[in-house]
C-alpha cells in the first residue's frame, strides 16, 4: 500500500543509533532500579519492562508532543521514551517530592503533564477508557492529537478492552491501542485465559484495523506504528497494534516464576531487542566499534546523575499529604 511506502521509518544511521541508545537507556535504568530495590531504596511493587523495550521505543517514534499517552503499571520504559526526564522518574521511584508525580505514585503511577503522560494505571484495563476520552477531547476540540494507550494482553480479558474498542470505533476516535502481548498475565499464560488467543482478531469484531508485529524488533514496531498512526491521523479512526514480546524478568520483584520454564525464558532472550538491533547494525556497518560503549557511558552518567538527584530529594511533609485530594478552594 502506498501509505506503507511513505510511512517507512527514516532508517538513517543517526535514527537507528537513537533507537539503540533509548533501549539501552531504559534497560540500564531498570537494572539500576532492581539493584535499588534490593537496597530498599525503591519499595512497593516494581514491574520491570526488560525485554519489551522495543515496543515503547518503536511506537513513541510515531507520536508527537501533541499526543496523549496512557500506560500501565509497567511503564518506566514508556515514560523515559516519551521524554519524562530520567531524574524525575528516579525520584518518583524513591517517593521523593522531586518525582514526576510528586512522589505520590511511585513506580506504577508515573504522570507528567509536560509530556502528555497520563499515567501509569495499575488497574488492568483501567487506562483504555481514559484514552478513548482523551481522543474524544481531541476530536471535539478539533485538535490534531491522538491518544496512545499501552496495555498488556491480560487486559484483553477485561470488559474495558471490548467496551473501549467498540466505543472508539463507533465514534471514529483517534486512538492507538498498543497491546504488549508478553504471553503472561502475571502467571497466567494467554492460552489459559483466552478462548481466542489471537488478540488482533478480536479487534475485527469491532471493525478496528489491527496488525501483529514482532515486538522484539524495534524497527518493525516503529514501521507499524508510523503506518497505523498515519491512518489514524488521516481520520481513519482507531487502530490496534499487537506487539508480540516477552518479559525477561519476573512479573514483579515478588514473583518466583513457577509458571514458566527457564528454557523458555532463555529462548526468548536470544531475541533480545537490544542485541538484535546491535547485531544488525554491526552487520550492516552502521554501528562501529566504540559506538555502543559510548552509548553505555552516556547512559551510565545519566543514571548516576538521576540516582544522585533522587537521593538528594525531599520527602513530602506529612502536613502536605492531603494537598490535591481536591483543588484548592478558589481554584475554580
Amino acid at each position: 500500500m502506498s501509505e506503507a511506502d511513505t510511512a517507512k521509518p527514516p532508517l538513517s544511521c543517526e535514527h537507528l543509533l537513537g533507537l539503540l541508545a533509548e533501549m539501552v537507556r531504559i534497560r540500564r535504568f531498570e537494572e539500576k532500579c532492581a539493584e535499588l530495590y534490593q537496597q530498599e531504596k525503591i519499595r512497593g511493587f516494581l514491574h520491570l519492562y526488560i525485554g519489551e523495550e522495543a515496543i515503547a521505543v518503536g511506537s513513541m517514534q510515531a507520536l508527537t508532543p501533541a499526543d496523549a499517552i496512557v500506560a500501565t503499571y509497567r511503564e518506566h520504559g514508556h515514560a523515559l521514551a516519551r521524554g519524562v526526564p530520567m531524574d524525575r522518574v528516579m525520584a518518583e521511584m524513591y517517593g521523593k517530592t522531586e518525582g514526576c508525580s510528586r512522589g505520590r505514585g511511585g513506580s506504577m503511577h508515573l504522570f507528567d503533564a509536560a509530556t502528555g503522560f497520563y499515567g501509569g494505571n495499575a488497574i488492568v484495563g483501567g487506562g483504555l477508557p481514559l484514552a478513548v476520552g482523551l481522543a474524544l477531547a481531541e476530536k471535539m476540540q478539533q485538535r490534531a492529537g491522538i491518544a496512545a494507550c499501552f496495555f498488556g494482553e491480560g487486559a484483553v480479558a477485561e470488559g474495558e478492552f471490548h467496551e473501549s474498542l467498540n466505543l472508539a470505533e463507533l465514534w471514529r476516535l483517534p486512538v492507538l491501542f498498543v497491546c504488549e502481548n508478553n504471553l503472561y498475565a502475571m502467571g497466567t499464560r494467554l492460552e489459559r485465559s483466552e478462548s481466542q488467543p489471537d488478540i488482533h482478531i478480536k479487534a475485527q469484531s469491532y471493525n478496528v484495523p489491527a496488525e501483529v508485529v514482532d515486538g522484539m524488533d524495534v524497527v518493525a514496531v516503529e514501521a507499524a506504528a508510523q503506518r497505523v498512526c498515519a491512518a489514524i491521523r488521516a481520520g481513519g479512526g482507531p487502530a490496534l497494534l499487537e506487539c508480540r514480546t516477552y518479559r525477561f524478568r519476573a512479573h514483579s520483584m515478588f514473583d518466583p516464576q513457577l509458571y514458566r520454564e527457564r528454557a523458555e525464558v532463555e529462548e526468548w532472550k536470544h531475541r533480545d531487542p537490544i542485541d538484535r538491533l546491535d547485531a544488525w547494525m554491526h552487520q550492516t556497518g552502521i554501528l562501529h566499534d566504540g559506538d555502543l560503549a559510548a552509548i553505555e557511558a552516556q547512559v551510565a552518567t545519566e543514571i548516576a546523575q538521576s540516582v544522585a538527584f533522587a537521593e538528594c530529594g525531599h520527602w513530602e511533609p506529612v502536613a502536605e499529604m492531603a494537598r490535591d485530594v481536591y483543588a484548592a478552594e478558589g481554584a475554580q
Partner: protein, 329 residues
Amino acid sequence: MTDGTREITYREAIRDAIREALLTDPRVFLMGEDVGRYGGCYAVTKGLLDEFGPDRIRDTPLSESAFVGAGIGAALGGMRPIVEIMTVNFSLLALDQIVNNAATIRHMSGGQFEVPLVIRMATGAGRQLAAQHSHSLEGWYAHIPGLKLVTPATLEDARFMLAAALADPNPVLIFEHVMLYNRSGVLSADAEPVDIRRAIVRRPGKHVTLVTYGGTLFKTLDAAETLAKEGVEAEVVDLRVLRPLDGETLLASVRKTRRAVIVDEGWRSGSLSAEISARIMEAAFWDLDAPVGRVCSAEVPIPYPHHLEEAALPQPAAIVAAAKAALGA
C-alpha cells in the same frame, strides 16, 4: 430558560440547567445511555438532541465503564463532560473508573492533572422497580476522598447545582432521586446560583433537628409539619452535599436543639447516617439531651410490591416517632 412565573417540574429544572450549560460553555457535552433519541430514561434530556446535535448529546452503548472512563479522559483533555448514568445501581459497572481514576488522578499525579467531570445519576426507590433499580448507594461514594457529592432535592437546587458542579474543578456526582422528577412548583424569579459547599436549614425549629437529604427531604418536612401540630418545633437540615459534609451547619443546629434524628434512604449498617451520627457524637456529645436517632431503609433488597416497598422505606410516621423518642415523648 425558565421565565420565573411558569410552573416547572424538577425534571424540567434539570433540563434547563443542562441547556444553560451547553449554551454557555462549548466545552460542555452530555453523554449516556439513551440521553439523545430516547430523551433520557427519566425524560430529563428530551429535546436536547434536536437542539444541540449528536456531537454534544451523545448516546452511548451500554458500556458504563467505558463511557464513564471516557468522560474522565475527556475531562483530562480539557472538556467539561456531563455523564448520565441511568441509576446508581448501574453505576456499579463504572465503579472502578470513578473510584480508581476520577477520585485519585489529581492527588496521585501530584496535582498535575484534574478531572472536572460531572456524573448525574438517578437514585432511590418508590417506583416499584425492585432490587436492581431502587437502591440508595450514594453513601458508598461519600466514602471516597477526591469525589464531591451533591443531592438536589428542591427545584432551585435541581436548577442551579449543575452549574456549580461544572464550575468545580473536582469530579462531582449529582444524585437525583427518582421520586423528585415529577415534583413541580414555581421557581422564583430571583433564584440564583447556589453554593454547593453548604447544607441548609429548610425549616427552622428549636426542639429537635431532623437531618436529611435528597428524596427524603419532603417526607421529613411532612413529618415536621405533623410534629408542629403537636407542639414540637423540628428543625430540618437538608445536607445537600454528602461529601465534603458541611459539619458547621449540621452541628450548629444540633447544638441549638440538643437532639437529632437522621433520615436516610440508605441502609443503616455502615452508612452515611452512621457517619453523621458519629460526627455529632464526636463534636457535640456534651450538647446532646438524647441519643441520636436514625430512620433508614429496612435492611432488605428493595422489594417489588408497593406495600413492601413502602414498608422498607423511611416514612413520615416513623420520622415523627423517632423525633418523639428523642424528646422522650
